[in-house]
């Protein structure tokens, strides 16, 4: 659904960053655990350490970008737009439909009663 695509893109990016922060801590723990072993797997160690460093730099770059965007876009004023008027119009339209359905069911009931009699 493309309804909130623009807002969701940035929020989704921030959620990815949250996951990446978890991965950073995971990588750090793996590296230290690997170092604590008697026989270390050097390739795994290098890979995890590289992943840790890359993730930290990526998180920093992404968050800096988001803060830079907010500095450009924020006005400090509260947003006063709303969708209230169209919501009210839609609500009235749905009420009209309900009313029409009610009246039709009355007519149908009357016709059935007349047929029974």
């Amino acid at each position: 659904m493309a309804t909130y695509s623009l807002a969701n893109e940035r929020l989704r990016a921030l959620e990815d960053i949250e996951r990446e922060i978890g991965a950073i801590l995971q990588n750090a723990g793996t590296v230290i655990l690997e170092l604590s072993k008697e026989k270390t797997n050097e390739r795994l160690l290098d890979r995890q350490a590289a992943a840790f460093t890359a993730s930290v730099q990526h998180v920093e770059a992404e968050l800096s970008g988001q803060i830079r965007y907010l500095t450009q876009v924020a006005t400090g004023q509260p947003h006063e737009g709303s969708s209230y008027s169209s919501r009210k119009d839609c609500q009235m339209a749905l009420k009209r439909v309900d009313y029409a359905r009610l009246k039709l069911s009355d007519v149908a009931r009357t016709c059935e009663q007349m047929l029974e009699n």
Binding site: L14, A28, E60, I67, V73, G81, S83, A93
Partner: protein, 140 residues
């Protein structure tokens, strides 16, 4: 890109604080991780006995690991604050969201009215026949 508008002091201070928190937390993670790796190095000559040095290193690693976790949690809080700030202050996306919502609701309203008008036309034909039947019956 448009010139940067003058933000109110509070918003500008807030965004600067976000930057500072980001830099501090990232620095904390990197520094503490580097220090843990450094202290894992086994040295032949120590100023205190090996057991004492081991205990000290153990304690230092615990503290540094706790610092890394604290910095990670602080980063998560920062992301949460940024999400909140984004939702409240990212006017382009808020405007687009409101426009999309208005369009959806207007489309639904127009469809309801269109179907009601079609229903009215159909029912008026049936009502005409019902009226004819009723007024030509003995029940009128």
């Amino acid at each position: 890109m448009a010139q940067q508008r003058a933000l109110p002091q509070s918003k500008e201070t807030l965004l600067q604080s976000y930057n500072k928190r980001l830099k501090d937390d990232v620095k904390s993670v990197m520094d503490n991780f580097t220090e843990i790796i450094k202290s894992a190095k086994i040295e032949d000559e120590t100023q205190v006995s090996r057991a004492t040095q081991g205990e000290q290193d153990n304690y230092e690693m615990h503290v540094r690991a706790a610092n890394i976790v604290r910095a990670g949690e602080s980063l998560m809080k920062l992301v949460s604050d940024l999400k909140q700030f984004l939702i409240l202050n990212d006017f382009p996306s808020v405007n687009e969201a409101i426009d999309q919502r208005n369009q959806q609701l207007r489309a639904l309203q127009e469809e309801c009215d269109r179907k009601l008008i079609a229903l009215r036309d159909e029912v008026s034909i049936d009502l005409y026949e019902l009226e004819e039947e009723y007024y030509s019956s003995r029940y009128r």
